[in-house]
Structures are given as C-alpha cells and as structure tokens.
C-alpha cells in the first residue's frame, strides 16, 4: 500500500506574540513578531508522516499560500520529514475562501490519497479552509479529527463532537482537518534540518483567489474591568457568592 498526502500549512504569529493592529486598521503589525508553523498544521504533517511510514510507501507534499517568508515555514515541515514543498505566492494575506480557491486550483491536477489541514489557523481562527477546499474539489471531508486509519481505499476518522466523538468513514481521496490527538509532532532533527535544505521547494504565483469577505476594521477587545481579590481562603466564599448573585447577577 501507499499513502500519498498533501498537507496545507500556514505561517502564523507564535501563540505568545503580542498582536498589534497596523496603521490601516485592517491588518496586523508584523515587524518584530515571531512566526511559526501553525500548531494544528504540525499535527497534520505528523499524521501524514505516520501514515506514509505505516504504509511503507508514498510521499508527503506540503503546500502553503502566502508571501516569500512562508518558504521558511515549508522548510520547517520539510525538516520534520516531508518530501517536497510548494509555495503559492500571493501579494498580501488572503481570506479563507480565497485561500481555499487557490489551494483547490493547485491540488486539482495532483494525485493524492489524503489532503490534510490543521483544524484551524491560529491567526484568523476561521476553521474553514479544509472543508471549503473539500467542497470545491467535490471530495468528502472530516473536521476536528483526533486520529484516523487508512485502509482499503478508505479512511476511518474519529472526530470530536460535543460530549463525545463520532467515527466517520471516508472514501479516498478525502480531506481531513486535525486537532490535538494521536499525532504528537516530532521535532526536526539536525539531520532533518540539513536534509530539508536540499529538498525541492517549488514557488509559483497563487492563481484565482477571489475573496468572499473583507475585514473592515480590527479592534482590541474591551479591557476586562480590573478584577478584584475578594479575599483569602474559604472565608471569602460567602462574599464571592454574594457578588456573583447581586453584582454580576449570574446566580
């Protein structure tokens, strides 16, 4: 058997980053911000590698839509063990539907069993590109998957739902978006990092990414009003409940 995967990965600000709104009010300041491979995409890369290894044959191609800097993100995935990378270069950041259109256009002509995504990109937090691409390609998809198996022309995926999980069977090729679960991402070894430098990284312009939404304005969340220490130890409990009932009016 062989498992051929395409994994879509995004370059995003690190979770610790302080995010500041740029002068245009519609985008963020990128100077001085540390960028990383989207943590959920690490689960997807790991899943692709695991399934290729288990099958004993196949390959893993990582794909990103973004500016030239995204090459660095692709190299990170190559260092983890992906075989080849494709960078679809866009002039500026694209919104979800636009990205999905670019990815679908590129993937259409390719052969693959699995098209993998992170459950969400931690910058726009959209949780949509995976199922959108699946729809544009007319292939089945499962989202928020913690673990899946691949066998006999189908994938069987466990996805998180409220109060439990759901087991979905999908015909190949299919799209799967990953959340934290069975695929703890491996660290790139020094050897992996060296090898990544020699792996193919193809760059071409992003084609046909018309947008569906526009960000009109970004703003900071309302500051949470300065909290208050009600007291120390168990004796503070009655006062806490009094405040929750009479001031917050939630009980």
């Amino acid at each position: 058997m062989r498992v051929k995967s395409i994994v879509c990965v995004k370059r995003v600000p690190d979770t610790e980053a302080r995010v500041r709104i740029a002068a245009d009010g519609q985008s963020i300041e990128t100077a001085g911000v540390k960028f990383v491979l989207n943590p959920y995409d690490e689960f997807a890369v790991e899943a692709a590698l695991k399934h290729k290894e288990a099958a004993g044959a196949g390959d893993v191609t990582v794909l990103s839509v973004g500016g030239g800097e995204s090459a660095e993100t692709l190299r990170t995935a190559l260092a983890m063990g992906a075989d080849a990378a494709v960078l679809l270069k866009s002039a500026g950041p694209l919104e979800g539907l636009a990205v999905a259109r670019v990815i679908a256009e590129e993937v259409k002509g390719r052969e693959y069993d699995l098209l993998l995504f992170g459950m969400k990109a931690i910058d726009d937090d959209l949780q949509a590109v995976g199922p959108m691409v699946a729809e544009l390609l007319g292939i089945p998809a499962a989202t928020a998957v913690t673990e899946f198996s691949v066998e006999g022309g189908k994938a069987t995926a466990t996805r998180e739902i409220e109060g439990g999980s759901e087991v979905v069977e999908l015909k190949l090729p299919c799209a799967i978006t990953l959340t934290k679960g069975a695929y703890e991402p491996r660290y790139a070894s020094l050897k992996g990092i060296m090898a990544a430098k020699k792996k193919p990284l193809e760059e071409k312009p992003a084609a046909g990414g018309e947008s569906g939404v526009k960000v009109e304005k970004l703003s900071y969340p309302a500051e949470r009003s300065a909290g208050r220490i009600v007291g120390e130890g168990p004796d503070a409990v009655p006062e806490l409940l009094r405040l929750l009932r009479n001031e917050a009016k939630v009980l």
């Binding site: 959920y40 910058d123 729809e135 806490l240 009980l251």
Partner: protein, 327 residues
C-alpha cells in the same frame, strides 16, 4: 424573496439549545433588515416533532427535511439541501451554530455557493443594508468586523453569546423536499461514542469549572465535579492543557488555544496559572472567577473575582455554600 436562514441543529430528534440561540440571532437580524426567519431542521423521520418550538424564539417558518439518508449528520447531504434552499429563497444570511456540526457544515455551504464565511461570530449588525459580523481573531486578542462580498452572508455563532429570547412567531412547519441518496455520500458517520457519562460539553455549558495542575492528581477532579453538580446540571468541568497532557482529563475537556474556546456566563479557573494559551480559550467568558494560592498568578489579571488560597480548603466550602444558595 429573501429571509434569514437559521440552521436549527438537532440530535436524537431534539432541537439543540444552540438552535434557540441561532434562531434568536436570526430574528434580530431579520427585524433589522425587515425580512423573515426561516429555520431549517434536517434529520431522520420524526424530526418535525421538535421543530414547532422554534416559533417561540422567532422563526416565521420552520422547514423540516426528513430523510433516511439523515439518520446521521452528513456534511455532503446537508450541504446539498441547504445550498438549494438558500438559492431558492435568495436569503440574505445563513446562520449556523459554531458547534462541531455547524463548523463542519457552514464552510461547505459557503464554498458550494461561492460566498464568504465568518466563523464564531460574537455580534451581528446591519450597516448600509448589509450584514456585518464581529468575530474574534488571534485567539481573542483582536476582534474583526467583517463584511460580505455576496449573498447569503454565511456565519456561525459562538455558543452562549446570543442569549435565547422568547418571541412568539407563527413558526409554521413546512415540509422540505430532500432528494439526496446516502449511497452518494463519500463520508458516512458509522458510530457516535458518548463520553463515559452523558455530560454537558464545556463548549456549550453556561457555567464552566476548569481545573489545572494545582489539583495535583486526577482523583481530585471530583472536587470540581461536586461543585458542578451543585449547580444542578448547568455546569461542565474543563481542564488546562497541563492536566490533559498528563492524561488526567480527556482532550475534549481542554480549554485554550489547542483546546476548546468557551464563552460561558461564569468561568471558574481553579489551580490554573493563566498562561496566554489558556486565556485564549476563555477570555470572552462573561464572568471569570479565579482560585489560586499564588496572588501573583496571571489568571488574576483577567478574573473579575479572585480568591487567594488553597483550593483544597476553598472548594468544599464553595460547593457547600452553592448547594445552600440554590436549594
């Protein structure tokens, strides 16, 4: 024709609580645009029974599509039915809950129609006759106001943010033709596994009580379960990543950047330090209570009310007082 479509999620023949929130939000939007609310329920035969109640939250009409193909949720099947419905009615907006099902389905519907999508919206407005959605980005560090290039505006709504409001509308139930065949689906749900005990999901509970490493071991989570029980079935127990990674609690209970985003009315952080990745999942809660022995713990910076001290002394007292108060 126009209208606001409200997808009313159901499970086991019952409309879920998030459906009330979605219909309520649709009502408000429809009033602002001077149009009607069309609630849509999809499911197996018998789903119509529960649909009538949606009129009570502001649905003018409730369309029910029953089919053997919908014994379980099907992204492909539901997309086909909803996309056709939205086209036929020329809806201005299509609202979904930001639940596991809504977030799986809504982007597919948007892509089928070639229109934009905004997820996890916390507010909906009308500006110049157009729908504008407000949604968190960067784990709630920013909020974006988003406009839509085409119609319908497809939006999923963060649970617990749009409080259900009763508003008696006709809620006239109509049959929706479903001409899909399960044999055409590329993805099929084979099994639903409920968690050990039927419990409220942290993503949807109005009260969430989360525990962190300060609980010291998995058995001590019973202190949180007892407090949750004292709230009489309105509370769910959540966890920080530290304790999920340690295997004390399932990942489905994790709150934060790589877990669930929750926005309950009341959030308790017990023995949780308040790392930025944890805050990412709970900072939009309406009220936050922190219990921590370290007065310098960052969680106190976002908490509305804090108690400094040993959780092992505070929790039993809290559970006892809550029981008394709500008795």
């Amino acid at each position: 024709m126009a209208g606001i479509m409200a997808f009313a999620e159901s499970r086991d023949g019952e409309v879920r609580k998030v459906a009330h929130e979605v219909v309520t939000a649709a009502r408000k939007l429809a009033d602002a645009l001077g149009t009607e609310v069309h609630a849509v329920v999809l499911g197996p035969a018998g789903s119509a029974a529960a649909a009538g109640e949606l009129g009570g939250f502001g649905a003018d009409k409730v369309f029910v599509g029953e089919s053997d193909a919908f014994a379980h949720y099907s992204a492909e099947g539901f997309t086909t039915v909803l996309a056709a419905f939205l086209k036929e009615h020329g809806c201005d907006a299509a609202l979904f809950p930001a639940s596991a099902q809504g977030k799986d389905l809504a982007p597919r519907v948007a892509a089928r129609l070639g229109v934009g999508y905004a997820s996890e919206a916390t507010a909906l407005d009308v500006g110049g006759g157009q729908v504008v959605a407000t949604r968190p980005e960067y784990a709630g560090k920013l909020f974006a106001k988003v406009s839509f290039a085409g119609k319908p505006a497809v939006v999923s709504l963060r649970p617990n943010v749009f409080t259900p409001v009763e508003s008696a509308k006709a809620g006239e139930v109509q049959k929706l033709d479903v001409s899909v065949n399960a044999a055409d689906f590329g993805a099929v749900v084979r099994e639903i596994r409920a968690a050990a005990e039927a419990k409220l999901d942290v993503g949807e509970a109005p009260i969430v009580i989360s525990g962190g490493r300060g609980l010291q071991n998995p058995d001590n989570f019973k202190l949180l379960e007892e407090l949750a029980a004292a709230f009489g079935g309105r509370a769910a127990v959540g966890a920080s990543r530290a304790v999920v990674d340690a295997g004390w609690r399932p990942h489905g209970d994790q709150v934060g950047q790589t877990g669930k985003t929750v926005a309950p009315t009341l959030y308790f952080a017990v023995g949780i330090s308040g790392a930025i990745q944890h805050l990412a999942g709970m900072r939009t809660s309406r009220f936050i209570v922190a219990i921590n022995k370290d007065p310098e713990a960052p969680i106190f910076k976002v908490a509305d009310y804090g108690i400094v001290g040993d959780l092992f002394q505070i929790l039993p007292r809290l559970t006892e007082e809550v029981r008394k108060m709500l008795a």
